[in-house]
Symmetry: C2
Subunit: 166 residues, 2 copies
């Protein structure tokens, strides 16, 4: 029975380790713990939030290590980064997740995912028509989620947050 006892790896660990080996990098305890912590849930988190979560889980990792590890994971492709213009960047693991876009609620800062094939196709078409080679794309919708639509506080707060988004 080829089954390891404490392993719940759903593939990302193998991918990451293979990537590290390929690059001549090392799969250290810190990296293993970060990987597991990050893949334990599927959400969008900032470096700061991750650091706090690690602290709560008693995983010791300095700020520097967290940033450096995130960079390696980005390069590996199991993570993507999002910038919602909130100052800090958001990260999200993507292994096993198809590409998708985001709806960012400016009221509660919650993030919803969606995917629309028609939009995907149109983006390719636009890039092709412009003579460019599309390498990545990012579509973000900013607005008020169902909950915040009826919250006057959120509506008020949202005013300044949206005037200037391109």
């Amino acid at each position: 029975m080829p089954m390891k006892s404490d392993s719940h790896t759903s593939g990302e660990e193998e991918v990451f380790e293979a990537y590290l080996r390929r690059q001549g990098l090392k799969y250290t305890p810190a990296r293993r713990q970060l990987l597991r912590s990050i893949f334990a849930v599927h959400d969008h988190f900032t470096a700061e939030q991750l650091i706090e979560r690690l602290r709560a889980e008693n995983v010791p990792a300095s700020k520097a290590t967290v940033y450096r590890t995130l960079a390696v994971m980005l390069a590996c492709g199991i993570l993507v980064m999002h910038d919602f213009g909130e100052g800090a960047r958001y990260y999200e693991h993507t292994f096993g997740h198809a590409h998708h876009d985001h709806f960012f609620c400016v009221g509660c800062k919650s993030i919803k995912e969606f995917r629309d094939e028609r939009i995907e196709a149109l983006q390719e078409e636009v890039a092709r028509k412009m003579g460019g080679e599309l390498l990545a794309h990012s579509l973000k919708l900013y607005g008020l989620c169902t909950g915040c639509r009826n919250d006057p506080t959120a509506r008020e707060r949202s005013r300044s947050a949206t005037t200037h988004r391109g």
Copy 2:
């Protein structure tokens, strides 16, 4: 002849001044000069680039004033801000310009504009289906422009710049 000699205002100045008055703010020399400098050309610029340009034009304006003035113009709506994940934010004046999206060349950092009504409509549709209220949206295509497609240097540089974009 109702024509002022040194005035080439195409409307943005009136809009800005009206906005300032409405808000109980002042149309100072600094603001006037910044407005004119910004509207002299239609491009995408960072705060830093604007400061340099002002310096070259012998327009004295401190960093603080530039940032503060940009904020007022954003609130006024004659300017929008873009975040291409390059660290600094880009600004673009929009008075008289319809909303459009951007193609960002990761090779030479050039920016091309485009607008696709079908995508615009689909974004509204997506937001509506999700029960949210769409306040703003941002679509960015990252890739290599025609010129950079054949530049091995750009292609190389682009590798790290795109792996991680969501």
